[in-house]
């Protein structure tokens, strides 16, 4: 099975391991991520203004290329997923945005939101299946106590993202279970890490990540996993006493599937 793949700026730079592990695990699980021939940065956050068009065009180009290739479009970074999914929803449901974006881009056939945007985690859950994944695990995590950190971008707004129950998600916990770990459910797992505020308002974002870290540690987590490079960065900036290690979910996946060493060259 071949998917179109939108990596995004961070995955190509600061978060290379998120991508390398994901590709290697894909091979192991029988699917291939085919990077779009041309993609541009999604902008990191969805442009909320109802009159914003130009800021959405880079996403529309990526979505339209996947449509041409007749493939579903897989994302890995939470931010890219959020932006592409919401722009796609606009193109399908908001006539004003659809008409103006198409007038601007002048594609051969108008793009009307036909592409399916699917996060790597959704591929694991809905296309591979956690039960099949479980059978392919060669190095189970031996009951390691792992807290899933969702953040906001994958879950909200729930009606558009359609990723999981926005208030009580289970997808990462189910993944941890399939890999042989023990998921730790804690209250702050879907509260914001501070996002881009850590650039100019460090103290404020630290207070948020401290709350998350303390909450996870209090419920017995030994480590946290996330899909988002910005969440990972912010959580690592936390000055809380807990200081739990934070990893990308793909790293754990690679470990359990026995491909981690060959990717990291260890």
């Amino acid at each position: 099975m071949k998917y179109s793949y939108y990596p995004g700026c961070t995955v190509k730079n600061q978060a290379k391991e998120l991508d390398l592990y994901a590709r290697a695990c894909g091979e192991k699980l029988g699917f291939e991520l085919e990077e779009l021939s041309q993609w541009q940065c999604c902008g990191g956050v969805y442009p909320l203004g109802s009159d914003e068009i130009a800021t959405k065009l880079s996403s529309v180009r990526a979505l339209a290329e996947a449509k041409e290739k007749k493939q579903d479009l897989v994302t890995l970074c939470s931010a890219c997923h959020h932006v592409l999914k919401r722009v796609n929803d606009d193109m399908r449901c908001v006539e004003d945005i659809r008409v103006r974006a198409n007038n601007y881009l002048q594609p051969e056939s108008p793009y009307q939101g036909e592409t399916t945007v699917i996060h790597y985690l959704e591929v694991l859950r809905d296309r591979v299946g956690f039960d099949v994944l479980k059978e392919k695990v060669t190095h189970p995590l031996n009951g390691r106590k792992i807290g899933a950190y969702y953040g906001c971008l994958l879950l909200r707004p729930g009606k558009i993202m359609g990723f999981d129950d926005p208030e009580n998600p289970v997808i990462l916990e189910d993944l941890i279970r399939a890999l042989g770990g023990e998921p730790v459910v804690y209250p702050y797992r879907n509260e914001c890490c501070g996002g881009y505020l850590s650039l100019k308002e460090k103290e404020l974002s630290k207070s948020m990540t401290d709350r998350i870290m303390d909450s996870a540690e209090g419920f017995g987590a030994q480590m946290l996993i996330t899909a988002c490079p910005l969440c990972l960065y912010n959580l690592n900036q936390s000055t809380s006493g807990a200081k739990l290690p934070v990893r990308y979910f793909t790293e754990l996946l690679a470990e359990a599937l026995g491909v981690k060493e060959e990717v990291s060259g260890e």
């Binding site: 909320l48 109802s50 650039l199 990972l232």
Partner: protein, 129 residues
């Protein structure tokens, strides 16, 4: 139409949401992770737009404390979307010449080696045109 009324109308348009649906339950403020740091709270944002008190709103520090984490949007029982109103007020400010909240010249001193690119592009999109 006074200037404040025009601006309130513009915020409703850019925000694409209807503040008249608000029933003042305060759930948006109760759930906001930046609540402590905000001079005008999310539920008061809605009230300001309703009552054309735009001057207060565009000078508010809260514009720069909001994370767009959509907690208020997700949890609003009336689908008022306070986070979208806050973004619209922010747009009203940064779309004016010289009102950027982040300048490229400031970036080098804010960088650290671990910082993900995603952080910079996100900040640029929310803080300036």
């Amino acid at each position: 139409m006074t200037k404040a009324e025009k601006q309130a109308e513009l915020i409703r348009q850019i925000g694409g949401t209807d503040p008249y649906k608000c029933m003042k339950c305060g759930k948006c403020s109760a759930t906001c992770p930046s609540f402590d740091q905000m001079d005008i709270k999310p539920h008061q944002f809605v009230s300001c737009v309703l009552h054309d008190q735009i001057g207060r709103l565009v000078q508010s520090k809260s514009l720069w404390k909001c994370l767009s984490c959509f907690a208020c949007v997700e949890r609003c029982p009336r689908d008022v979307k306070p986070g979208k109103l806050i973004d619209a007020a922010r747009q009203l400010v940064i779309r004016q010449r010289g009102q950027d909240y982040l300048n490229p010249d400031q970036i080098p001193e804010l960088l650290d080696p671990e910082l993900p690119q995603q952080l910079l592009v996100s900040a640029f999109r929310r803080y300036r045109r």
